[in-house]
Amino acid sequence: MAAETKLFGKLKTSEQEHEDPKEQLMFDPRPREELNRMVMEMMTTTTRKFWLWAIGLGAGVVVLLFGAWGYMISTGMWVTGLRRPIYWGVFIVTFVFWIGISHAGTFVSAILRVFKSEFRRPFTRAAELMTTFGLAAGALYPLIHLGRVWVFYFMVPYPNARWLWPNFRSPLVWDLLAITTYLLSSTIYLYLPLVPDLAMARDRTTGIRHTAYKILALGWRGTEAEWFRLKKAIQIFAFAIIPVMFSVHTIVSWDFAVSQVAGWHSTIFGPYFIIGAILSGVSAVVTILYVLRSSLKHMDYFLRPEHFDALGKLILVFSMSWAYFFFNDYLLGWYGGEAAVRQILTVHATGPAAWVWYTMLICNIVIPWLTLWNRKIRRTPWLMFIITLLINVGMYMERYTIIPLTLGHQRTPFDWGVYTPQPIEISIVLGTFCLFTFLYLIMSRLIPLVPVWEVQEGQVAHSLRKVGKAEVPSVTELD
């Protein structure tokens, strides 16, 4: 098969010429069995610190999330900071935040797969896992924020004695369908590439783990036909999930865009939300990769500065796109001249909560633009960790601006209001962060976080060829 230089190969600068190709994972191959062993060790090593974290986070889930939620259910929504006219607060903010993050996880994995970006290989699973657990955390919020969660099933379409169906005109029903669709498809998309790795794990474990992996691996033997079908399936899902992601996140934006609320009623919200989701999602991937790299055994072999570098470039691009959409939305709102919208925009920039708006701009625009152009910064994982964390803070603030701050300044000034999140709400929000981290932590010891077969495949395909005196990296197209 023909050798082909890849998309990011073209971006090489003269500076990079001097880099040792061995720094790249693909040109630093290790024997197959060695890789398998490293991954298995990664999965099975549990330190005291791990257990402390697991117990701490588990307690966090039980107390902060379910305890606080249970308290809220038993006493009522008065424990929140909601009030007329701000009926949606940090619950919906966090919902959009999680959904945004989760949408980007699978998206990053899928789009890089589709474009055959080689640097994706070690972290696709980490990103997909983020999607699943992000959705798990985010999907709780439509339930949490309900005034009467015990009748949530009224939203589900099923034939019943009341002769009633949910209102299919309501964006919330679309939301329900979209989220479940995405949860299902992204879980399958996570699961498919996992099968060969589960089989690998099955062959290297005993006892209950062995049984579990045996069931989950679906009798994978690694025959040519199996590989063929698996790759086909992954290919189909990778292509299919991208439009799903686009449509699903657009639907989330419709929660706001189809309403009559001044400041929400914007046609640009669909792409704006998608770009925002991708920006926060890719940033969250980097954040998670840094944590994995510094906490898991052998992870520094798989995750290297090159990955942070490449993702950093992506983030810069999306930060710029986000800025474009932001100013587009802002400008049109301002130019449109509807009094209520102008008022809202003014209040965002000058009102009592203007710091939220400025934090958003600083974190989403100023910081990435000032730092991510620099290769050194991009290749310094801990710096990237801080930057991406700040970007997610900024994206949280964006949603906070859009939801409570906009709701608080609608058309009748008599009814304006200020929203302050209350302890129970903050506790529940922190609880879902605990839930996400907890699930991730537990999963890191249950499934291989690195898709070993993909890394191995990549390492086989990459080689250094001698051209004259220089060694030139080259890739063989496998398919």
């Binding site: 005034g147 309501s170 609320v261």
Partner: protein, 240 residues
């Protein structure tokens, strides 16, 4: 106006004459007593959770000494094309085809509060907690109106219980409803006769006549909500 209301079925309507309205808030209390709206206490009112199905949006006009309050009693406008209805996932906010008002079906409400966000009039109220009405004060609760428990939205119903009762009485006596036979609590109480309620589909009803007044306007007409409540601008300095 004619072209806007075209294609919208008309039934019950309310006219608020702001020139008559003194802003005394008797309507607020009458509504609350009729419809079992719970009092919430000082802290809740301070927090922005006072529950009022109708309340006076008192803005100030001018500066001292030419300052005057502009009273505007706002209740659910019973929009013909209501923003709250399409966003409710469970049909709890639903249009009554028979009465041409917006209903809030408490037992269907799951409390997403989307309708309240989407109501440009802020006419919808959320029950953040169960009503706290100690015995024997609960004795005055109107058995014709559901006492809402926490977690559901509520709003002005045009006193639909009185509409239904009036309709059933008329039908039992085999006659059409008379103009003025059904009055919501706010209309019945209004000391200065600023509120007029009736059937807009009857061109001879008092409310239809008043809705033709040259002072008429509708709240946020530009949003296309087609409200069933018509305001008549106040004359003079404190005009609407």
């Amino acid at each position: 106006m004619a072209e806007v209301s075209k294609g919208i079925a008309e039934k019950w309507g309310l006219v608020v004459d702001q020139d008559r309205c003194t802003g005394c808030n008797a309507c607020v209390v009458a509504c609350s007593m009729e419809n079992n709206v719970p009092f919430t206490g000082e802290d809740n009112v301070a927090f922005g959770r006072g529950t009022y199905w109708i309340y006076n949006k008192r803005m100030w006009e001018g500066t001292y000494p030419e300052v005057a309050p502009a009273f505007q009693p706002v209740m659910c406008q019973q929009c013909g094309s209501a923003p709250c209805e399409p966003v409710c996932p469970t049909f709890a906010a639903v249009h009554s085809e028979e009465e041409q008002i917006n209903l809030q079906i408490y037992n269907r409400c799951i409390g997403t509060r989307y309708c309240a966000n989407n109501c440009p009039y802020h006419a919808r109220q959320f029950n953040f907690e169960d009503p706290n009405i100690p015995e024997p004060m609960n004795s005055y609760l109107n058995p014709d109106v559901t006492v809402r428990r926490r977690g559901v939205m509520e709003k002005c119903t045009f006193c639909v219980q009185r509409i239904v009762a009036g309709r059933q009485t008329a039908s039992a006596e085999d006659r059409p409803l008379r103009d003025g036979e059904v009055t919501p609590a706010c209309v019945a109480a209004c000391p200065s006769d600023a509120l007029v309620f009736g059937d807009l589909s009857d061109p001879n009803s008092r409310v239809s006549q008043m809705a033709q007044n040259e002072r008429q306007y509708k709240l946020m007409d530009e949003l296309g909500t087609r409200p069933k409540v018509t305001y008549l601008k106040g004359g003079g300095r404190n005009g609407g």
